[in-house]
């Protein structure tokens, strides 16, 4: 089995020097950032080595696209594990967005298959789950779409015998996947030790021969590469608000604090701050795109997922500004009348129920075929997806198949002026690891497509009197070979701190592990009872270093980035690296004996006092209020 490893050169976003910021323009001077191999691709390298180990005939080929200096990342790869390397480089390929990149790389893969693999189809394409600069995860599914092959996303392990079997994070839990055909594209999550580059291997790698191919060398059509082939354009780049400076309200009475937490929690939406946009009116202006606004809905049994309703509510609002209708697309084995009615009540004018027993389980190739046929027929001007595992895998394929631009992970959507008198959908998302915000617009596309982060928009109250139509569609599904999926573990049994709505986080102010458990677990229990959402215990770096808990529960720069609805910082001083991991939390409560602790600058409510007395008092107050 051969392996083609896709890698990318990215700016080192983990370590941005202060003077690389242009605060006035809100942009980054990229020249002052180091260029490195996308850290998430390092896992793909380890994975490729594991796949080819023990097979002397197996070839490893590293492929990247970029400017001539992107050669450095190929040298880095070769110094970590031997192989061949291909650099796609051409001025005409510069400035590419995801479909233009995916097309160019797919053309490169075709030539690799022809020439370097002697026409063999017995290979895997392996890459990191996303790049740390773009964070879109769109290129891999679009390459798979171009090559007409399957993709297995978020793989974290492999068994080579008796049959190649990948363990991955699926939409509902951990599962094993046995691919049906080859080649298959596999994206890897952080799961294994990074390969080192030894000195002598590095030295040899620098002197090794690297294939350098231009657009013509891979027979790439000039209108499908670079800026010409791109379907999105960056309208504006700006800096996210520097410090979410809060005014901390100091409280002395634990019962009073519990009441305040409860009141604020009810209002909170969680996740990044909600952007309330002013209304937009055409008033004589024209819209750049025409047609209805569509949403892809995800269902869970007979319910619509929360994220789909959030997006539907926002879509309803945006469509009204332009006087357009709202359509909801829902693929399923069958769609009940109640489900369709609920979607109409939440804002749909038309529900397109694509019904087929083969759609009961998610399969990207089948779903794409069913949905893109509908998109090509009706040509909506906007189509939005949840940035869920399903949405992030499916949307890139639908966008690619319909030749539309796609923006990933939007946190803000608005109708605005593109230029004088022309209205367009402005799609804003964090980029470069959350260090900048970018507003993106779709160009040269039939449909403006985007995925939207869960938790960003509020669900408006449903209106049961709304009228709409339900269109039931029997899709014409292609006969695709289907990989075998074996469920291993459902997510409901294991909630990571990233998904928790309430976090009780302990730090250096707690003296030992026994105190950590004794103080925090009951408080988490009390808050769970009070607020009705499951509270989890997490920790600062110090607490993890002291062995109070494991690294899985660490919040901060070197741990997890979290955005719960309620974050309780217990005995945490508020070092920068910790703040960067929790400042997106909706409500922050800090308890610290030091009134000057930096954490209070980031808190909504604070209590100054000894943890030993304050925390148990707070726990009791929460328990009492919950009764």
């Amino acid at each position: 089995m051969h392996v083609i490893v896709l890698v990318k050169q990215v700016p080192d976003v983990s370590n941005i020097p202060e003077d690389a910021w242009d605060r006035e323009k809100g942009t980054l001077r990229r020249g002052l950032l180091d260029s490195v191999l996308n850290p998430l691709d390092l896992h793909a390298l380890s994975f490729a080595k594991m796949l080819t180990a023990g097979d002397p005939d197996a070839k490893t080929i590293y492929l990247t696209m970029g400017p001539p200096q992107a050669r450095d990342v190929l040298v880095d790869c070769l110094s970590r594990a031997p192989g061949e390397a291909v650099l796609l480089t051409d001025r005409a390929m510069g400035g590419a967005d995801t479909p233009a990149t995916a097309y160019s790389l797919a053309q490169g893969i075709r030539r690799i298959e022809r020439e370097l693999l002697g026409g063999s189809r017995d290979y895997l394409i392996v890459t990191g789950m996303q790049s740390v600069d773009g964070d879109t995860a769109q290129v891999p599914p679009q390459i798979a779409e171009d090559l007409g092959i399957d993709q297995i996303a978020y793989v974290q392990g492999v068994e080579l015998t008796p049959k190649l079997k990948f363990r991955r994070i699926g939409a509902t839990g951990i599962e094993d996947v046995i691919p049906a055909t080859f080649p298959t594209l596999v994206t890897i999550t952080a799961c294994m030790d990074t390969l080192y580059s030894g000195f002598h291997a590095s030295r040899a790698a620098r002197k090794s021969n690297i294939h350098i191919w231009s657009a013509a060398d891979v027979e790439a059509a000039p209108d499908r590469i670079g800026i010409k082939g791109s379907r999105t354009t960056v309208y504006r780049i700006f800096s996210p608000s520097e410090d979410r400076a809060k005014t901390c309200e100091m409280v002395t009475d634990p019962a009073q604090l519990v009441a305040k937490i409860k009141a604020k929690y009810r209002l909170a939406t969680g996740g990044p701050a909600v952007h309330e946009e002013g209304a937009y009116a055409l008033e004589g202006r024209t819209a750049m795109y025409h047609g209805p606004f569509w949403v892809l809905a995800e269902s869970e049994g007979d319910d619509v997922k929360t994220v789909s309703l959030e997006i539907l509510g926002k879509t309803r609002e945006l469509a009204q500004f332009l006087g357009e209708k709202v359509g909801v697309v829902l693929p399923a084995a069958s769609v009940s009348d109640e489900l369709a009615a609920s979607l109409i009540a939440h804002g749909a004018d038309t529900v397109y129920a694509i019904e087929d027993p083969r759609l009961a389980e998610f399969n990207a190739l089948r779903w794409k075929a069913a949905i893109s046929a509908l998109v090509l027929e009706h040509k909506p001007q906007v189509m939005l997806f949840g940035a869920t595992p399903l949405g992030r895998e499916l949307a890139p394929r639908i966008a690619y198949a319909s030749d539309s631009g796609l923006t990933a992970d939007c946190t803000k959507l608005e109708i605005g002026d593109f230029k004088a008198n022309v209205a367009i959908l402005k799609q804003t998302r964090p980029a470069l690891g959350g260090n900048i915000m970018a507003t993106i617009m779709t160009k040269d596309s039939p449909t403006q497509m985007a995925t939207v982060r869960p938790g960003v928009f509020k669900i408006p109250p449903p209106d049961p009197t709304r009228k709409g139509e339900v269109v039931r569609i029997k899709p014409n599904l292609p006969d695709v070979p289907v990989s075998t999926v074996i469920p291993i573990e459902s997510f409901t049994s294991k909630v990571s701190i990233r998904d928790a709505k309430i976090l009780v986080s302990g730090g250096h102010g707690i003296r030992n592990r026994a105190d950590f458990d004794r103080l925090l677990n009951p408080l988490a229990g009390g808050l769970t009872a009070l607020l009705g959402d499951d509270a989890k215990v997490s920790a600062s770096r110090h607490a993890v270093e002291d062995g109070f808990t494991t690294h899985d529960y660490q919040v901060g720069q070197t741990g997890q980035t979290v955005a719960p609805r309620l974050y309780m910082a217990i005995g945490i001083s508020g070092a920068v690296q910790h703040i960067s991991g929790m400042q997106m939390s909706d409500t922050v409560v800090a308890i610290n004996k030091d009134p000057r602790a930096r954490i209070f600058n980031y808190a909504d409510f604070g209590i100054v006092g000894d943890l030993e007395t304050v925390v148990p008092a707070l726990t009791r107050a929460a328990q009492e209020a919950a009764r």
Binding site: N15, P17, D193, Y196, F199, H200, D546, H551
Partner: protein
Amino acid sequence: MIDIDILIVGAGPAGLAAAIQAKTAATAAGREISVVVIDKAPSAGSHVLSGAAFESACLDDLVPGWRTMRNSFTETMVPVERDEMLFLTGSKAITIPKKVVPSRMHHTGDVVISASRMTQFLSEQAEKAGVEVFHGTTARTLIVEDGVVRGVRLAELGLAADGSPKGNHVPVEEIRARVTILADGTHGTISTQYIERFGAGKGPQSFALGMKAIVQFQEASPFGNNRVVHTLGYPNKPSTFGGGFMYAMGEKTVAVGLILGLDWKTGDLDPQREFETWRAHPAIAAMLKGGIVVATGAKTIPEGGFFALPTLSAPGAMITGDGAGFVNLEKIKGLHYAIRTGMAAAETAVGALGADGAVGSLDGYRGRLEAAGVMAEMHHARNYRQVFKLGLYFGTPMSLVSSFLPGRLGMHTDGRATKVGARVRRADPGRMDGATFVSLTGTIHREDEPSHITIPNPDACIACERDYAAACTNFCPGDVYRWDGAKIVLSPSNCLHCMACSSKCPVANITWVAPEGGEGPHYKQL
């Protein structure tokens, strides 16, 4: 087969100057030589920290035309036009008249630079010249065979915390070269082994610790541009050697720092707290009003001076820069020596490389340093630091005439200077805490590797806690050490590679080895 002519250990200013000059000298001689530089830092300049008011003339010799090149180094360079020295009391600042300050200590005409940025620039220049530069490569052992230096052995990679090899393990590798130039900086692992093997100086080496921060302003800073200020006095006790500095790095940026001789006597002195105390002084705070600290760092500075210089060359090797102790404490400057010594070592090496593979004597290195004026300047400042053993009030006037003192004044190692029961009892100035200081250095280490810091005899710590207030828990600017009531608990992933612990532990009970490559701080503009 040895295919490396010159191996340089350390890609700081000294090592890269050696690399560039080796290529230049070889080209001038019509020869083709292979030059390899290795460094433990993750990328160029990320372990380099200096003030730095820089005497830039040496760069004209190393990289002719560098002043007209446009890059992040030259674009952030600021010429010094105003140069002041202040004496700080608890609440006031008294300007020391220019006439009293010896001319050698004037900085007008210098340029303020980021040493880290300069190193990035030199690294690019070296690679352009055909030098092979490898970052993330840690040298652990000097290879000496039959009295001849043959190269280095590297750290093995991919060990688990218990020392067992992980799946990605890379065994120890050897790099052999015809000539090895040591440039691994202050208290460098390889330089230390070389000095132990080939001979230390007549006087012991001692160190100072420099704490540095970059302060950024939204608007023009109250401090102003093109200005440098040095301070004496507060917060130091008269018995502590040291002083502060403030260097303008443009309209909106000021580099500030506090240098403390590591021979302070009090076990509870926390240099980061001293630094914060100094920054809180009304005169300093006024000049920094409205600024925020965006980057921090700490590093030791060898200050043994002329008499602490070790044997400069041995068969197959030479020692340069901070690793040898080439710092002029009168000027508090070492960068230009780093560059001069690197260049001299390179020229010596190229001259000694025979066409037949033989290597001649490297003893001409010292002569080249004399010709470059480095030795004379070092000799002039030979007793400057030593007189401060007498304390600030007697030491300061003595320092002005120290160059006339005959012979050599004594010094002993830093750890032993700590006095039983001596305490500074500094109040917390209530500013930046240790954790924030550490996080702004960008330091990072793999959490599951064997600790690169060890305490051979934990029992000795109990006496140290009683007598010296567990000094390491105070002197380490990285907050690596914590006293849990019975023993020292280590957080090696916080380490700033400053090397204070290698000389300041009162009971000489800390062993520091360079961790596997690519770890430690990420200095960008220090």
